[in-house]
């Protein structure tokens, strides 16, 4: 018996599920296929150590599009976002920087370091708001093709130009800088306090193989600055029950819209006949047919693994091969018996409830990058730590804690040895770096999970361990993402689409690629059924 669907979605990550949900809501018969035994892709929560729920990969949320929360009614499906308040940066000299969501308190805190910077911080926030406002609509639009003279694309380009021209001179100046400068150079213009610049610039390197002094990182800074929860700009949060709960809520919404979801159903091949997709073959050998296949996995898997090179045009394949993944980060998840005790601010307190950033100076960040350039993991890495169990006690046994450490840099390609050999040494380096600020950490660890870029690739299907399914560098953004000429969710194979983070607007738990792709699929569907209708 062969089964036939309207659409098969490959990958049960948040983008795949969003894509499936929207298509089903539009009346399509949709099947979503996940290789692993759990849904969520990199937005997943698993009990790795008994009693401890780890948000294994992605650990905070802020970019999830408000329209998706609204349209899929996610709160009704169990989504609850808990606030993550502030960023605490310990310093080796016994001082610290603790930025909070409360702007006035942050300003007072910065004043401890520099009066000038406290004032500049105000100006900075005021300037970043219109910047985010400018970029936000871009996150929900299909990128125009800059090379054609088609009226639709020209109209969009004109729209962008007009929007740019409607900015004030000051805003234009800052926008151009954000699009082209390095995070560190950009912040240098605003602030003098080293630790403030270091910790702020850290969000400019996440998911890239760039240092904070490399041009292009200011954009990534903006990308992360745009967080928005319940309409409040710049706020980051946890999802109750871990990041996987977001995926589960989306899955629930999808099921309600009658999406069929199968786990442990890894795709082996995308079936193609006469340049048109017919369905997929699973690793089990089972073949499933559909009019449309929408792939939320990355271009390497979609085009180089699931398809035969002969099925694709040569120049397209070359572009796909050139697409840069270059994972640069790892993850260390810890089960703790107690709380870390920071030398510079001892004891428990609100500073542990937010993000804890190991980014004490510009030089520290830059040296961490230098190690990675030559194929070593950073001996002293940048670490972004959260302890979600303080906000959401359900993820750890009573009195115990879960600590999530995002680590950069961990280059996928090592100069010496393999990641399987280096895994423990990497974990040790991370814990040592934390212990410099919180010496008790080693005593309270009861279990640890170390995810190297290789693990991210093997376990979560992220090629080369890139958390965004491809570097967020300027040459791989907007109408260039994932590859020039194919930034519109379509592919050279008829009825095969892309809907993952490798498409515009890219990574983070945003859901935008999945949503925009569903619109493109539905639009094409309408067009083709109209033309079929006219032929009949």
């Amino acid at each position: 018996m062969t089964r036939h669907y309207d659409v098969i979605v490959i990958g049960g990550g948040h983008n795949g599920l969003v894509n499936a949900a929207y298509l089903a809501k539009a009346g399509k018969k949709v099947l979503a296929l996940e290789r692993r035994h759990v849904l969520g892709g990199a937005a997943v929560t698993e009990e790795i150590i008994p009693g401890f729920l780890f948000s294994e990969c992605s650990y905070v949320v802020s970019l999830l599009r408000p329209e998706i929360i609204r349209e899929l009614d996610l709160p009704r499906h169990g989504l609850e976002i808990l606030p993550l308040d502030g960023t605490f940066t310990p310093m080796p000299n016994g001082n610290h920087l603790w930025r909070m969501n409360d702007h006035a308190r942050t300003q007072r805190e910065i004043r401890r370091h520099s009066r000038v910077d406290a004032e500049a911080y105000d100006e900075f926030s005021k300037m970043m708001t219109p910047m985010c406002r400018f970029v936000k609509p871009l996150l929900s639009m299909i990128p125009p093709d800059p090379t054609t003279l088609k009226p639709g694309d020209l109209k969009q380009l004109h729209f962008l130009m007009q929007r740019f021209r409607s900015l004030s001179s000051e805003e234009r100046y800052t926008l151009i800088q954000l699009m082209t400068m390095s995070a560190a150079d950009f912040l240098d213009q605003w602030f003098e306090t080293d630790v403030l610049k270091a910790t702020m610039s850290a969000s400019g390197i996440i998911g890239t193989f760039l240092g904070i002094r490399s041009p292009g990182t200011a954009y990534v800074l903006l990308h992360h600055y745009m967080g928005e929860i319940d309409g409040a700009f710049r706020s980051w949060g946890f999802s109750r029950g871990g990041t996987g709960a977001i995926s589960n809520a989306i899955a629930d919404a999808a099921r309600e819209a009658s999406v069929e979801i199968r786990t442990q159903a890894g795709v082996a091949k995308i079936l193609v006949k006469n340049g048109r997709t017919r369905g997929v073959a699973l690793q089990s050998g089972e073949e499933i047919f559909a009019n449309v296949v929408s792939s939320s996995v990355d271009p390497h898997l979609t085009f180089e693994k699931f398809l035969d090179p002969s099925e694709l045009p040569g120049d397209f394949l070359e572009s796909v091969r050139r697409y840069k993944f270059r994972g640069s980060s790892g993850k260390v998840n810890l089960a703790l018996d107690g709380l870390p005790d920071f030398k510079c601010l001892p004891g428990p307190g609100a500073h542990l409830r937010g993000a804890i950033s190991i980014s004490p100076s510009i030089e520290y960040m830059e040296r961490a990058y230098d190690d990675a350039k030559y194929g070593n993991f950073s001996r002293k890495p940048y670490i972004d730590i959260v302890i979600p169990s303080l906000t959401d006690p359900s993820v750890a046994p009573p009195g115990k804690h879960v600590m999530s450490c995002f680590v950069q840099y961990a280059p996928y390609k090592l100069a010496k040895g393999t990641w399987d050999e280096q895994r423990e040494a990497f974990g040790d380096a991370v814990i040592n770096a934390i212990a410099e600020h919180a010496p008790n950490i080693k005593k309270i660890i009861t279990g640890r999970q170390i995810l190297t870029p290789l693990d991210l690739e093997r376990e979560f299907g992220l090629t080369q361990g890139n958390i965004f399914q491809g570097e967020l560098s300027l040459e791989q953004l907007f109408f260039l993402r994932p590859v020039p000429g194919w930034a519109y969710y379509r592919t050279p194979i008829d009825n095969l689409y892309m809907c993952g983070s490798a498409t515009h607007p890219g990574g983070g738990i945003m859901g935008a690629p999945g949503r925009i792709a569903s619109q493109v699929i539905l639009k094409d569907w309408k067009k083709s059924s109209r033309s079929r209708g006219s032929k009949n």
Binding site: P146, T147, T148, R165, S169, E170, R172, Y173, I176, Q177, T180, M181, D185, Q189, L210, R213, S214, P215, G216, T217, D315, R322, K324, E363, E366, D370, K373, Y374, S473, L474, E475, F479, L480, P484, G485
Partner: protein, 541 residues
Amino acid sequence: MPIGQRVALIGGGHNALITAFYLAKGGFKPLVLERREMIGGGAITEEFHPGFHASTLSHTIGPLRADIARDLEFHKLDCEILRPDPRVFAPAPDGKSLLFYNDHARTAAEIARHSEKDAAKYTQFAETLDHFFSVIGELVAITPPAIDSPSPEDFWNLFKAGRSVRSLGKHGIFDLLRWGPMAVADFVSEFFETHMLRAVIAARGIFGTALGPWSAGSTAVLLLRAAADSHPVGSAAFPRGGLGSLTRALADAARKAGVEIRTNAEVQHIRVKDGAVVGLVLADGEEIGVHAVASGVDPKRTFFNLLDPTQLDPTFALRIRNFRAAGTVAKVHLALGGLPVFTALDPIEGFLNSLSGRIHIGPEIDYLERAFDASKYGEFSSAPYLDVTIPTLLDPSLAPEGKHILSACVQFAPFKLAGASADGKTIFKSESNWDARRKDLGDTVVKTLAEYAPNLPSLIEHMQVITPHDLETIYGLTGGHIFHGELALDQLFTMRPVLDWARYKTPIRGLYLCGSGTHPGNGLTGASGANAAREIIRDLR
């Protein structure tokens, strides 16, 4: 029409001389004021040791943009351009080497010794740059458009530029968009597999900048340089008599067109009244009344040293302050008793010819990147990237008979150098730390070169080291930046030097910029000077 107006030019560098030339042709009375005893700015020849004459700063030409050379009737001027072939010799420590000839096929044959694949790609790469040469060349020649109220000419320029961009085809346009923001290390590895080949070509993307080959945006610099000379390794030509001959010839052409040139005339102050330039005050107190001033010196010096800061709009002043201009290049000259013997060069017939162009020291991308790394922390590279010439091979007149000169651009040498304070504890970065490290830098360069030419140390009769600090104090380059300001995506085209003021005009009426700190600012091509002249003439008429 107020023809015959007096326009003063601050600085006697090549851009100012070209601006003056065009202004004179346009009917104005230009007066060039040079602080030093010789004109030339960054294109000069000086005797650094008795009998030894070196091109003090720049040691190769851009070359001049074709239309400028035509307008100057350059071929009639007293300036013979020597064009070495091969252009570049790149030795590796293991004794291998690469030679880059004018002729692409010949270079490809040379590359084939390392990789057949790369040899085939090389000609393709050269053609690609040729295509981009004409497109970017067009952008380099226009005045950046006004964003708020584009003039009909802006629209026409953009239309023309757009048309030439479209001539690249869909692939070409995407390539241009993709390459601009890319790291030059990625760019070259799209074409080549040989490490040395990658390194030599990538070096163009980092020369003179605070970028390593892995810094994003370095490909934009390479493409900009390719708009001056589309040869994959760039220009290697220099005038007989050194770079000073070039500016002397330009000065001759300018004088013939009616320009008055004064040396030892340091401008101390630009006098402004009611937001307009009224005159100049020289260091000796002399006052000169002028209708307009075009400044060939860098933007920071123009606005912060020569003007009363209260006369500047605060937003504009802030932008100029933010204009990044921290140099990374030092220069070392060696007076040699004989020729260095490079181990990578077999002493076959005509082998000396191989050394007559530029010698590239920096055999791998990683080598270049490590050289850059040091500068991020305020140190100079322990194994620097060197761009070397031995000009005496083609022009023996520069040194006593049988002797030679070696001239090396040294990267990376950060303007602010780290040093320990008196208590030995705190490290601080300062430009004044350079005086104590001058000899160290020279020794590092000699040691680096000795790995390729072991007999070099024994030949040295004298060494001159020009630090970034010297570039600022002696030669007037703020921050010691050889391009008057970083060539980076956020400081090019409509953003050079700053957004809203990229059209050679300034907020002060009658004050213009014509130096390398303006668009396009890409080396010794005269493009900034010529573009500025066009705008000044239009504005003053």
